[in-house]
């Protein structure tokens, strides 16, 4: 350690420096200060070593020599060192000098701090001071909480709320000063005991996603609590946070379900929550799977109470209707509806009516047609359980078959080029075990003058079916004509398919 210089001096007197304009930036100020403490340096740079007086030269060169010794680059024995510093002191050499090119570092945008104007720099320093002060408050909170916990108590809610606002203020400062993001979870004292597991990825990982900051944080906490299998209220809220940003996360739903079970949360509340999520994410699949899990879990607890079951059926079908209003062909919702009908045995006129209403609204809504087929032909009271849709089921009553055939025909008459109603007609016929030829009269009304000048076809699907009818009747030529006309004129999009059918016919 260099001793303080004393008043008596043999070194060259330090000349007064010329008045300079006050510095504007941090860098300028540093340079000025450097010269102020290294006066001979400046003279030497400006006028050269030769311009110095002999005394100045001596001081200058001795001053250069101090540095290696003071930095321990020249090892001296204790005695030699004592002598050395004695001499330095005697000579009154300028040992308390600033270093040159002090590195002030840069801010988060990469701007060098020495380019800061003094006022800007002061503002930054104030922020740093404020952050340091807040950090003390924050540490005091931690200490207080530790103490309270050791005594088996928790801090009052006001303290926690205050700590939250402290952290929020710190987060703002940290972001401004250093660009560091402190997410909402790290700001919440309730999460202090969880050590998040962030996704550590190499720079060159594949299919990297520009995750929103909140997502990255939420997932890192989720990974941590799933690893420790914590099942708590806060974790339930955390799953919601993740689900909002990534509803297709394949384990967060399962984890949520586990929490719901462990905390014995009311299933109806969970369903209520799910309704909101479903309305925001119409195309999501996991939501409906989760709903099925909830129902499978909940039903046994109310199955002995028909009133509750009925109420559940009503609220579920109401919600389905509501969501189908927004998206009439939503695949997941219809699949869930089919699940629900099976589960709650809703083989009711009301269910049939619901599908029918949707067909009335849009005769081309294939999902609604599909549902109708299911409600009619999978009803265990009407049909043979397990009978495949592509197979005949003689258990289905003639009255039902006739009703369904009539319904399909009525809708075909309304829109002859509608694929759904024709498919339905064929499907019902297969179920009935009746021959396709029984549909000849009905089908022929959509086709006239086939192969003639006056040829008119109101439905390519009728022509398609006629080909099968004629084939079944053994009239290959007529069947072939239907297919040829489909390929050539009435449905050329499927030309390849019609030609294949012609080839099949001739086999």
């Amino acid at each position: 350690m260099a001793p303080k210089s004393k008043a008596s001096s043999k070194a060259a007197p330090i000349p007064e420096s010329k008045a300079e304009p006050p510095p504007e930036t941090v860098g300028e100020r540093s340079t000025q200060r450097f010269y102020k403490t290294n006066i001979l340096q400046k003279r030497c740079e400006e006028a050269g070593l030769a311009a110095l007086t002999p005394a100045e030269k001596k001081t200058y060169s001795h001053a250069q020599l101090i540095i290696p010794v003071s930095q321990d680059r020249v090892p001296l024995s204790t005695k030699a060192e004592r002598e050395y510093w004695k001499q330095v002191s005697k000579e009154n050499l300028p040992i308390r000098r600033l270093r040159r090119n002090y590195d002030w570092g840069h801010d988060r945008q990469g701007r060098q701090l020495d380019t800061y104007r003094l006022a800007e720099f002061e503002e930054r320093s104030l922020k740093q001071a404020r952050l340091a002060a807040l950090d003390i408050v924050h540490r005091r909170f931690l200490a207080k909480r530790d103490k309270a916990r050791k005594e088996g108590s928790e801090l009052p809610a006001e303290d926690v709320a205050e700590e939250k606002s402290t952290r929020a203020a710190m987060a703002v400062l940290r972001k401004e000063l250093y660009g560091k993001i402190t997410g909402p979870l790290a700001q919440d004292p309730k999460w202090d005991d969880v050590v998040p597991i962030p996704q550590a990825e190499p720079e060159d990982a594949l299919a990297r996603i520009a995750y929103p900051d909140d997502y990255a944080e939420a997932v890192s906490y989720l990974r941590a609590v799933m690893a420790t299998e914590e099942l708590s209220e806060r974790c339930l809220r955390l799953t919601q946070l993740v689900i909002n940003m990534n509803p297709a996360h394949y384990t967060v739903w399962l984890y949520r379900f586990r929490i719901v079970k462990a905390l014995e949360l009311p299933i109806l509340d969970e369903i209520e929550w799910l309704n909101r999520v479903a309305l925001q994410n119409l195309k999501n699949y996991q939501i409906w799977h989760h709903r099925q899990l909830l129902l499978d879990y909940y039903l046994p607890s109310i199955s002995s109470d028909p009133v509750s079951v009925k109420k559940l059926a009503k609220s579920e079908t109401d919600f389905i209707s509501r969501i189908l209003e927004e998206d009439t062909k939503n695949y997941h919702v219809w699949s869930y509806r089919q699940y629900l009908v099976g589960k709650l045995e809703l083989w009711t006129p009301a269910e049939l009516g619901a599908a029918q209403n949707m067909i009335e609204d849009d005769v081309r809504n294939n999902s609604a047609w599909s549902h109708r087929f299911f409600v009619v032909f999978s009803n265990p009271r009407e049909a043979t359980p397990g009978s495949l849709p592509t197979a005949t089921d003689l258990k289905v009553s003639t009255a039902t078959i006739d009703r369904e055939l009539a319904y399909a025909k009525e809708k075909i008459a309304l829109a002859p080029q509608n694929q759904s109603s024709w498919n339905y007609l064929r499907g019902v016929l297969v179920k009935s075990g009746r021959d396709f030829t029984t549909l000849d009269e009905f089908t022929e009304q959509f086709v006239s003058g086939l192969g003639e000048e006056s040829e008119d076809v109101k439905s390519s699907h009728a022509l398609d079916l006629l080909a099968e009818i004629y084939k079944a009747k053994g009239d290959k030529e007529k069947a072939k004509l239907c297919l040829e006309r489909l390929a050539a004129k009435w449905d050329p999009v499927r030309e390849g398919y019609w030609k294949y059918q012609i080839a099949e016919l001739e086999k």
């Binding site: 597991i197 996704q199 550590a200 990825e201 190499p202 060159d204 594949l206 299919a207 990297r208 996603i209 520009a210 995750y211 929103p212 997502y215 997932v219 690893a227 990534n246 509803p247 297709a248 996360h249 394949y250 384990t251 399962l254 062909k329 695949y331 219809w334 699949s335 089919q338 099976g342 081309r364 294939n366 999902s367 599909s370 032909f377 495949l388 849709p389 592509t390 080029q417 509608n418 694929q419 759904s420 498919n423 339905y424 064929r426 499907g427 297969v430 179920k431 076809v457 109101k458 439905s459 004129k489 009435w490 449905d491 050329p492 999009v493 499927r494 390849g496 398919y497 030609k499 294949y500």
Partner: protein, 416 residues
Amino acid sequence: MAALNKEKHIKYWQRCYNSYLPTQYTSSDSTRLMWACFITSAYDLLSIPFSSTDRTKIRSWVLSLQHPDGGFCGSPTHSLPGQDSHKGTANLAATFFALITLAIASDGEEEARAAFAGVRRGRLLRWLKKLQRDDGSFGQNLWEGKPVGGRDTRHSYLASCVRWMLRGHRKDDDEPWEDDVDVKAMIAHLRRGQTYDGGLAEFSEYESHAGYAYCAVGALWFLDRPSSASSPRPEPSSLTAMDQGIPDLPGMLRFLAGRQLNYLAEEEDEDEEENFIQDAVGSLTLEEGCRHVGFNGRWNKKADTCYVWWAAATLAMLGSPYPVSVEGSRRYLLEVTQHPIGGFGKFAGTLPDIYHSYLGLAVLAVFGDADLKDFDAGLCCSMETTGKIEKAREGLLKATEGEDQTAWASDGFWAT
């Protein structure tokens, strides 16, 4: 005739490969391995070479997602580091995409044979077996030791492919041996999926859907596929899985033919469910032409890029009994959904995304586009990659031969 704007597509995929995917992909964070597979496979299809550094990086990233108990996790989000690694969750789809991506990241015979090095085959196949339920369906992952997720055909398809890629068809006395999944139950489950209109759904009571049809047919196709794709397939007979798994094949062919529609560009509208309204049939004459042929996934639905793939690839697996309207479909893809910045959108005018961009390329390759490599409609990658997968399987089997027989390996402690 519009052509594939190869240069733009290359640019599109290079962007996907080199930079962050936009924030909107956060909602598919769980399927990053799928994105990785599509991106690298698009490179392969477009013959953009990978440097050896790239190949190493792809390999190590994919292997970093392997679960210690078998299978691969869908993304780094689902895989945990170090001691917690067994608490991550492997996923069937991710495993399928991981294996294909590993094969893509190999160049030449020697690398291909080592492409599956590091894959814990034994554990993976045992995990796969655990994913199967009693009814023959497969779950997407294990949860509390049980398979979870839908019972739909997607998982049957993925399981069938993974089984083919890693297990191959082993005979009873082959080494190394792993118990097989229950193939009979698998076929029976798929058989229960056909709907009254000939299509397929998760259960036959649900609405038919071209995507599920592809998966069911694909699952059956892989059960029949010889270990070496170049060997002849078994002749259609009542013994094939395909024949046992589809109760009504003519109905299926009708359903698939029905996916084509005359796309009327002027009807296209964002909010509209339909873009083909067929009030009358008269407008569909050859004279006016079917300039654009779109495909939908369900009856009376709107045309969408990906359904050209799902329907055409299904037909390809069924032996292409009849041709679809290739010229019209190509025009639909190239003139309607191909995007000026490269890639394909879902509909006319929509921005490209990885899913539609890849499946758009895939189906053009199925149609034999000269700018793309020969395509394997079953694995949804180039035939060249399928060839590498076979070599990788051989290489892995050779490397693990006999290992399972030793006492220290049988306790499951050692990775096999």
